[in-house]
Structures are given as structure tokens and as C-alpha cells.
Amino acid sequence: MPDALPQGRAPRHAADPIAMEVFANRLLAITEEMGNVLVRASFSTNIKERKDCSVGMFDARGRCLAQAAHMPMHLGSLMGSVVTLLERYRLDQMRPGDAFVCNDVFLARGTHQPDINILTPVFVDGRVAFFAVNTGHHSDVGGPNPGSMSQSARTIFEEGLRIPIMRIVRGGELDLDLLEMIAHNSREPAERMLDLRAQVAVNERGAELMQRLVATDGIAAVEGAIEALLAYTQRRLRARIAALPDGEYSGERWMDGDGLPGGEPIVLRAKVVVRGDDLLLDFTGSAAQARGALNIATNALEATCYYAVKALLDPELPANSGLFEAVRIHAPEGTIVNPRFPAATAARAISANRLSGAIFDAFDKVLPANKRMAQSHDSVPALLVSGQRRSGTYVYLETIGGGAGARQGADGAEAVQMHVTNSSNLPAEALEIEYPLLVDEYALVPDSGGAGQWRGGLGIARQISSRVDGSLLTARGEGHVMVAPGLDGGLPGGRALLLIEPGTPNERLLPTATTALPMTSGVGVRMETPGGGGFGDPALRDLQALAADILDGKVSRAAAERDYGAARVAQALAEWRDPT
């Protein structure tokens, strides 16, 4: 929550702070309503249930005024499409009732191909005054593999349909030819058509609400409030930056590889440069462009930076161009954080999560103690099982959380999504009703949290077996090699693990990325996700907390004696009093 104005400092505020705050609320009400309508009107589970979609309102100069981002990865990622539209068309070439579509990473500054954007110019007094924009993650846009997100794709041409910025609605007339063309490049054309129609309708609603707001307040008042709001947001963030000591602070986070088999671990480096109220994030020194699909294109990089800055400096800061303008970013071309055409980018969420870890690591040197946090699992582990059932083919896909890093004063959260993603799990009962699969275990992974004065969060074990022959397993993960480091003497979190036929004589370890491995009836797969790093010297851990961990089976007695010392473990158990 924003705190009060620092004492003794000359107050700096907008000319009319009240009009600005009222306007900001009305603008948010509009983007929230657009978000509600998009979630209601879309069909696919990914957009509707997992809310993998975002909406925004921009001005005619392409500045973001407000955004409702359900996934932090989308923060700022709508920007790229608006900039591209303004480069491609002049405002006087747009007509009321037009709407545009795009998805491409290189042609339209996207972050990966499945995110399809719709942009609609909003007319006031006969001229374009705003753009209503939204994006949705479409669960398939073609390419060789279902889901269009293979980690081992080598170029963007293996990642599905490429849509440059183009009109999809002309003067109120939806271009059905184009709609069908897009839809039939997907494995689920009916879903694509329903979702895209919803995306078009959402912008129309947003345009109507924006026009109503202008009709009530007058365009001059609205434009004044916009300038005030953007200036305020930038001023507020700069006040946070100015409160940090000047200097250069470096951080890093390692990845298991660059997406293709046989690679060595690679590094992501972040340097935070603070000079007065100026902030630069410099990623020089990060690994070369990935051979696989782990590349972070420019707009994905920006979204990751905005997410990290907001999370670390001001979680309630409005998401608009005021925030974006206060953060400068540098990434050398030809690296994983600024890839050259035709790099593959579909699995950028994994590397963006590791990159967030690098940024958090850099900021750790400059943040107040209560904001410091050991590294988290920083991965997006995914399980995909496909095959045949009575009514045709099925595809089960899920991403799984892991352990969060411990913080000064608090153990890390167990079993949670981190950084740029926050999607929920699928209930085991829903999964078993829908697919010929059985969930054998869904549990925390004991001993996966790094030991420390505050313990790292535990990862998740998900064990699933097939009830039919002919199922195919595809899995990907991160942290099989490079774990989450601890902080201030805290120990690292546990590794990720992928096992086939677990608990049987045939049990064996699978590589990080496994594609289309056959499973017969009764064969199981077990994924264990990484834990979070510990914070502080384990010798300082509260004895009651240590005893509770052992009695709860979150830490085994053997691991506790190894990390905390046998004498302290014995003392903790002897002095234990159950508080609940």
C-alpha cells in the first residue's frame, strides 16, 4: 500500500489531484468492465478460466492510459501492437468501425505467437482519440506441436501462424475470410472464432464507455486528467527510485540450458543502475540467443521489467505509460533477452521467470530488509498428456507451481506460481472426469525448501498414470540442474525431477524436456517441481518452527539434523508445544 508523503519534503502534486483521482477510477472501471466482458464472452478454457488475457486503453499517441492485466506477462505487452499500428497506418487512414489484429513477435512486437491482439480506434468528434486493445492467449495457433509452444522449436516458423498488423473489421463489417483463415490454422477452429469475436466485441464496449466518459466530462478535461495521471504515475515511481541509494547493483540467475537437448547451463544477468530518480535495467552479459524457444523478445522483456519494478518498488502503482517511461532498459542484440529474427520465443515464460529472479537478485542489494527475498523456483513446469478416448482425442495440459523464496521474517510460500504467471491448477476430480488419467498423488515435496532462519517454500509433486494404452507424455521443466539459491546463509531449494514408472522396478529419470513419450495403461509419470531458497543462517531458526516442520513431515528428521544440527533438532522436539 502506498505510504504517506515523506515528511519535510516539498509536496509535488497534480494541478487538480481530485479530478485526476476521480478520472483514474473511471478509467479503471472501463478497463475492468472490458476485462469482465472478455472473460465472460470468451469460450476457451485458457482465456475464460485461467484468465490468460488482458485489456488496455491507449491514447492516439500510443501511450498506455490503463491496463487490466490478469497475467503480469501481459504488462506492457499490448504496447507493442499499438506502436506497430501507428507505424503502419496514419490516423486519417482509420475509419469508425475498423478494428485490427496481430500476433507476430517480429512483425508486430508480440511476446509469443499464441497471444493474439485486437485493436480498435475510438473516435471522438470525428478523429481517433483512443485505442481500445486486448490480447488473449489462444491455446493453439498451429505449427508442428499441439499448443504451439514447443520448447525445442528453432525458429518462429515452427511456432504457428504469423499475423502482421491488419484490418479484421472494416467500417463495422467483420472480415469473415480472414477470421476463417486464422481459425483454420489452429487445431481448434471453433474456439478461435468464438474467442476472436469476443475480443472484437470487448473493444466495441470499451470504445462506447470511453466515448460516454468524454461526453460527460468534455475532451479537454479528459485530456488534462490523462496528462496529470501519467505524470503522477511517473512522479510516484521516481519518488520510490530516488529513495534508493545511488549505485550499480548486479544480479544473476542460471538456467538449465537454452531449450534444446545437449546444452550447458546458461546465465541471465541483470544490472540495476540507480542515479537520483533515474532507473536503468541493463542485461548485458546475459547468454547468447537461445537455440530453442526460450528467447525473450523486446516486449516480453519490457513486461518482465515492469512486473519486477512494480512488485519490488510499488505493488499498487497504476499500470500505464507513466510507469513505463520511468524505467530504462538495455539489452544487447543477439542475446536471449534481445533475439534476432527468426528466433523462436514460445516458451519465453520460463526464461522471463528466471530473468525476474535475476532482477530480484540485483535489487536485493538495494532494497530495505523487509523486502528482501531468497530466490524462488522461477520456472513454469508443464505436463501434457495426449491420447485417445472414446469420444476422440484428448489433450491434458497443466502448468505447476513450486516453492517461493523465504523472506526476512517469513518462510517462503509453499506450492505457488511465481512472477510472470499465476494460473490455477486443475482439480484432480475434474481431471479424472475429463481424461482417462488417474492422479496418484498431489503433494508437497518434503525437504525441497532451502533450510534457513526462514525456510524456503516446498515444491509440488504431481503423479499421474494413464488408464488407457497409447497416451503420449510431453513435459518440460526448469531447475533440474540450476536450483534456487538461498540468501544470507540460507540453503538452496530442491531440484526439479521427472520420473517415469515411479515407485516400480522400472522407475527411471527423464530429461528436462520430454516429447511424446508413449505411456501404456497403468504407467505413471511423476513431476516434482523445485523449492525456494532459504533466508538466513539455519542455526537461527526458531525451535518451535523447526519442530513443527519435522512433525508436519515438511522436513525429514535426517535432513533437519544435517541442516540444523542434531542437538538443535533434539532440543526443538523436546521443547515442542503444539500451538493449534
Partner: protein
């Protein structure tokens, strides 16, 4: 009717809403329709004490006798507070092997996208008391592994040694086949005869294990102490000489007996605000407004919900202190904006109001209890919108100078504004916040707020109602009598009701529909037995049916109400397409439809008595009790504003703004350019001067 006979008849009905600060009461005389209101301080250590005091006082003040009381109903936050304060029973859990962490992993999401200070609450049952048992039932009902009863017995012995007093039994797919849960319950009952047992297939027989387990665990956690509270309540009510059994409102706005509440206390978690919405739905519909947004603004928060076609809208996913509770509930959105919301200037120089609240202690600066920060209430006092001498009819003195000082030094001077501009700014920002919540709650459910009236209550609702309505382009405001006690009055308007559910997930064809019919018959029999147990005579019993359906490939359901009997399948499919189109904007002709849940609500109609006859005579002029200088907006500046006593206003009388209308529990504002009138039921209706005459507008609405 001879006087003595009338005094002896059971004709008084009392509703009690237990809040954190006050316990509100409403009492209706069925014979005359007259309603009386009363407020006593709450007694958090034993909430039933304030109930007893309040009941005795409201009877005494209105010349009533305990023997005349036919009904007592109450809304309580006892269970909710137990969860918030984590003061429930020492609870253990039995669950399927491999699944003891379901309640800890939750949805694997973090509660705030950016703020890592916000964390999921720790499970109510620690991992060491979550016992895994060998057993497994598959989704289609096949027993993959029989229940290991010996293992249940061993777990029970361990629980006894561990002083466990309550147990949640949560097995996978128990919604499909409860046999293993029943067998485990029998073992527990035998070995732990005094423990409270909460079984998932009884509490919530629906699929999706995390929601079911969470609800069942919460039920176990609050069960034993809730039973103690209900026993004490029963004794206190009996102690007053009232023979009627007290009822409790549950989250869906229905009433249930003490016995039912003790079995399923989790259903009472959201009871107070639900009663307010039920009452609002009834009162607004009587006034000719079937479609309203309810706006219940109190000291620290504001509750908003949607009533469409005279029915409160329900929500399937609510949470209590961060724990999902999936019992049928009225859909209420809560925002952190109320009279106590604190105004401050943030690091970027913006003026913000809330969500931090001064609460009841220290409260607003004007309360003189040490509050130094300006609140929304202080802004209203500065502008003369609230009385600058005292509130609650003189019961609470006000330090207006303290309010002015707080607004001036903390807001006006730092921002270079006049005192009035600063106070007005605080109100405008709070109004924009509240307006945003109303837009959210309506558009989320597929409604446009412009088509609704605003039904304002709570202590601070009527004060801001007209501005909030303008913010949302809502044309009409309705303010019921004594808006500060609307939740207590709502209890008098609720019916006895309980919800039943069965999950049945299959393509909706003729075979499935006949299976559904059998499930509905089973639930109807249970419902009838329950209503009989609640003492509802047969001619007052009713049932309502609904199904939840989805298109093949969807992962969410749309509820289709079916009325009191099952229509033919074709009609159900048509109704689903229409409802899907209304809520989602489209239907998909030809796509396969799946049945997911069958729901049945048992209703015991409660007599509501005759409406109160309108007061006779009087005039607007005679209702005027004074005047004060009040600041409405920059255009009109300070106005000499007449103040009216609400209870003296005549039915149909027209009050032209600017005007202030006061009553015991609240203050209503009529702005310049608006006018207010009192309808036959005593509701205040406020509109813009330019709006159509009230009669015509009411007709328009009824036709819509």
C-alpha cells in the same frame, strides 16, 4: 378483537443482526404491520448477551410481551469471527492417501499478483493432523481400493491421544459415492463419541476437491464452538420467556433452525449481509423496483450486490478470511470504503481515500477519541452534510473543529486547496471508488447498471447514494426506513430455506435427464423431511429446482432455474441457450450440452404479516425540524438547507433539493436539482428534477 385476546396472541416477529459494534433489532407486529427498530451495543465475548438485552428492550419499549413473540431470527458473525481469529476447534482430517496437501496447495496461485507481503492463510488443520487413509474411488464410481477401516481406527486412536475435538472426513470422489466416507464416519463415531464430525459428502456433495475439502474443514473448525454458542443462545431466548425457537440466517439468505445450523455452521458464515440483500429485494419489489443494485455502506466497508427480477443473485465462490467456502451464497462484493475510510496524500502527490480505515476506535477525527487522520465522515461533517453537533439523534456528540483541522492540515494545505475543496475531493474520490465497485458487480454478471435503481442502506449509504447513482448513470435511488438496521429487517422478510445439490456429469440426453429426475426426486424427499423437521406445515412448503449446464469443452457452468417442477428436456436446452446468451453474450446452436449439477432449494414460506398502513396527515412543512449550512458542489456552494425528520414526512409529499432528511440511524441528502418523495411503504425515492413523474416511471419499470 378484544384487547386481552390480542395481547395473548403470538403476533410479534423479531429480527436481530449481530454486528461488530452494534446489535440491530427490528420488530414487526403482524396484526398492524407496524415495525419498530432498536440498537444495542454488541457483546463480542458472548454475542447472545446483547441479543437477550436487545430483545428485552425492544419488547419493553413497544409495550410487547415475551409471550406474544411468534418468531425470532438472527444473523451472526460468530462462525466468521472464529475463522478470522483462528479460535476454532482442535481439528484433524482424514483424507485419501496421496491427497493430504490439497488444502495447503489450494489453487497454487498467489493472492496478489505483485505484492509478496500478501500470502495465502495457513491451513486450518496443520499437516501433522491430516491423516491419509488407504481407499480410492474413481471418477465413475469404481472402487479402486477398498477402505482400510483398521487404518481409520488407528488414526482415531491417535486423534484421541492428541485431544482432537473435531474431524473433517474428505475422500476423493465422495461426491460420486459417499460409501467410504460413511464407513469412516461410523468408525470415528464409535471411537470418538464426543468429537464433532464434518463429512464432505454431507457438507457439499459437489466435485472439485479443493473447494469441497476447504468447506468441510472450515465446517469442522467452527462446529464445536458454534454448537456451544447456539445452545447458549437457545437458553437466553428461553430465559426471556419467549417460547419460539430462534432461527439463524444463512449465507443464501434463508432461515434455518438451531439444530440445522449446528450441523452445518459453515452455512452461517456470510449471514448478516445476506439478510440485508434479501430484505432489499422484497422491499424494492414491493415499491415497484424489481431490478436494484444494493448499496450497503457502513463504517469500514461497503457491500454491493445485484437484485434482478426481484431475486438476489447468487455466487458459487465466496471466501471467508481467504478460505474458499462453496455453500450457496448471495453474491456480495465488498470494498474497503466506508465512513471511517482515511484520506491521505500518497508518494506521488495523489489524494487517496481508503482502504485503511479508522474503524470504530479511534474512529474519525470528529469523534474526539484520538483519531487525527481525516476520514470520509469528517469530510461530510466539514461540509455540513452530517450534523456538526451530534449524530445518532444526539446520542453521539461531534467535534466539528477536529474534523476541520484534520482535513485542513492533512489534505487542504499540502495540496493548496480550500477546506471545502479538500472535503469535497475526499467525497468525490470515495464516490468514484464506490461507483467502480457497482459497475464491477453488475457488468461481471452481464447487467448494465443504467437499467437498475440504487437501493441504499447502512449508516453511510443514504449519505452518498445520489452521487454514487449519478456516477453509475443510475436514474433512481430508494432508501428504506431506518436504513441503518436494514439487515435486521431483512431477517423478518426471509423464508426458511436450505439448498441441496448433486453432481451428475454427463452429456445431457434423455437418459441423463431421467437420471437427473431421480436425483431431484431424492432431494425433494430429503427437502420435505427437513421442512417437516423445521416445523413447516405442509401447505407452506415449496421447492425450487435448477440445473448447472455447460457446452462440451467448457470448464464452467451456467445456472438454469427450472421453477418448482422439471420441464421437458427440450425446454431445458432452450432455457440454457437463452441464459448462456444473456450472461456470456452468445449461444452455440448444435453443440453438445453437459449436465454438471442438480440443485434443489427447500422453502418454508414464512408469513410476513400485513404491510404497515401509511401514516396519515402531516405535511412536508411540518416535518421540517431545522436548517443548516451545507456545501453540495462547487456550483451551488454553501446553501441554507432545510432539515426534515423522516418519520414526520407525509406519504406522497415532495421534498425539493437541497434538503437533508434525518432519522435515527442515517442521514439522506437531496441535492439541488433533485427531489424526493415518500412512497406508501415509507421508502424515500429520490430522482433528478428532469426525470419523469414517479407514477409514470414506476409503470415504465413494471413494463420493462
Amino acid at each position: 378483537m378484544p384487547d386481552g385476546q390480542a395481547r395473548g396472541a403470538k403476533r410479534l416477529r423479531i429480527g436481530v443482526d449481530v454486528g461488530g459494534t452494534f446489535t440491530d433489532l427490528a420488530m414487526m407486529d403482524e396484526a398492524t404491520g407496524r415495525i419498530a427498530f432498536h440498537k444495542v451495543p454488541s457483546t463480542p465475548a458472548d454475542p447472545s448477551l446483547a441479543i437477550e438485552t436487545g430483545v428485552r428492550e425492544i419488547l419493553a419499549r413497544n409495550d410487547g410481551a415475551a409471550g406474544q413473540v411468534a418468531f425470532v431470527g438472527h444473523g451472526t458473525t460468530v462462525a466468521t469471527n472464529m475463522v478470522i481469529e483462528r479460535r476454532g476447534a482442535r481439528t484433524a482430517m482424514l483424507t485419501t492417501r496421496g491427497f493430504r496437501d490439497v488444502i495447503e496447495i489450494a489453487r497454487q496461485t498467489r493472492p496478489h499478483l505483485y505484492d509478496y507481503d500478501v500470502q495465502r492463510p495457513a491451513p486450518l488443520v496443520p499437516r501433522r493432523r491430516r491423516n491419509e487413509i488407504g481407499e480410492r474411488i474413481a471418477a465413475e464410481g469404481t472402487v479402486l481400493r477398498p477402505l482400510d477401516e483398521a487404518e481409520v481406527a488407528r488414526a482415531a486412536e491417535a486423534m484421541r491421544a492428541d485431544d482432537v475435538t473435531s474431524v473433517a472426513v474428505c475422500f476423493l470422489h465422495a461426491w460420486r459415492d459417499p460409501a467410504h466416507e460413511r464407513a469412516a464416519k461410523a468408525v470415528l463415531r464409535r471411537l470418538l463419541p464426543d468429537a464433532y464430525l464434518s463429512v464432505s459428502s454431507e457438507v457439499l456433495p459437489e466435485f472439485r476437491e479443493f473447494d469441497r475439502f476447504s468447506t468441510t474443514v472450515l465446517n469442522a473448525f467452527v462446529g464445536p464452538r458454534m454448537a456451544t454458542y447456539l445452545d447458549r443462545l437457545l437458553a437466553r431466548v428461553r430465559g426471556t420467556g419467549i417460547a419460539a425457537e430462534p432461527y439463524t440466517v444463512h449465507s443464501n439468505g434463508g432461515l434455518m433452525s438451531v439444530a440445522t445450523a449446528a450441523l452445518a455452521p459453515v452455512r452461517t458464515c456470510l449471514s448478516g449481509p445476506a439478510a440485508g440483500v434479501i430484505g432489499a429485494a422484497v422491499v424494492a419489489a414491493q415499491a415497484g423496483f424489481p431490478d436494484v443494485v444494493t448499496f450497503d455502506a457502513g463504517g469500514t466497508s461497503t457491500d454491493v450486490s445485484v437484485v434482478a427480477g426481484g431475486q438476489a443473485t447468487s455466487s458459487s465462490s465466496r471466501d471467508v478470511a481467504g478460505y474458499p467456502v462453496k455453500v450457496p451464497s448471495i453474491g456480495i462484493d465488498v470494498i474497503g470504503a466506508g465512513g471511517g475510510s482515511i484520506a491521505f496524500i500518497d508518494a506521488g502527490g495523489a489524494l487517496k481515500v481508503g482502504p485503511r480505515s479508522a474503524g470504530a476506535d479511534p474512529g474519525p477525527a470528529a469523534y474526539g477519541r484520538g483519531g487525527m487522520e481525516p476520514t470520509l465522515t469528517d469530510a461530510n461533517i466539514v461540509l455540513g452534510r452530517l450534523d456538526q453537533a451530534a449524530l445518532l439523534r444526539g446520542a453521539m456528540p461531534v467535534d466539528a473543529e477536529a474534523a476541520r483541522r484534520a482535513v485542513r492540515t492533512r489534505i487542504a494545505e499540502p495540496l493548496g486547496l480550500t477546506l471545502e475543496q479538500a472535503a469535497l475531493g475526499i467525497i468525490r474520490i470515495a464516490v468514484a471508488n464506490m461507483g467502480r465497485a457497482i459497475r464491477g458487480v453488475t457488468t461481471e454478471r452481464g447487467y448494465a447498471p443504467e437499467r437498475f435503481a440504487l437501493f441504499a442502506f447502512g449508516g453511510a449509504g443514504p449519505l452518498h447514494a445520489t452521487e454514487v447513482a449519478s456516477e453509475c448513470a443510475i436514474p433512481v435511488v430508494i432508501i428504506p426506513r431506518e436504513p441503518g438496521t436494514m439487515c435486521a429487517r431483512g431477517i423478518l422478510l426471509a423464508d426458511i430455506a436450505l439448498d441441496f445439490v448433486r453432481s451428475e456429469i454427463a452429456p445431457l440426453d434423455a437418459t441423463t435427464w431421467s437420471r437427473a429426475a431421480a436425483l431431484f426426486d431424492g432431494m425433494a424427499a430429503e427437502a420435505d423431511a427437513w421442512l417437516a423437521g423445521e416445523g413447516v406445515p405442509a401447505d407452506r412448503r415449496a421447492t425450487l429446482r435448477a440445473v448447472e449446464l455447460r457446452y462440451e469443452g467448457q470448464n464452467f457452468e451456467v445456472r438454469v432455474p427450472l421453477g418448482n417442477a422439471l420441464p421437458p428436456l427440450a425446454e431445458v436446452l432452450d432455457a440454457f441457450a437463452a441464459e448462456h446468451a444473456r450472461t456470456n453474450g452468445y449461444a452455440i446452436p448444435g453443440r453438445e450440452v453437459e449436465l454438471v449439477n442438480c440443485r434443489l432449494t427447500a422453502i418454508g414460506k414464512v408469513p410476513r404479516g400485513a404491510p404497515e398502513p401509511p401514516p396519515e396527515g402531516g405535511s412536508v412543512e411540518a416535518a421540517r425540524i431545522g436548517a443548516r449550512r451545507t456545501f453540495f458542489d462547487r456550483r451551488s456552494g454553501w446553501c441554507d438547507t432545510p432539515v426534515y425528520a423522516r418519520e414526520r414526512l407525509p406519504v406522497g409529499g415532495r421534498v425539493t433539493g437541497p434538503a437533508i432528511i434525518e432519522e435515527m440511524s442515517s442521514t439522506s441528502l437531496v441535492f439541488p436539482g433533485q427531489w424526493a418523495t415518500l412512497d406508501a411503504e415509507g421508502n424515500l425515492i429520490i430522482r433528478h428534477e428532469s426525470a419523469a413523474a414517479p407514477r409514470a416511471a414506476t409503470r415504465e419499470h413494471a413494463d420493462a
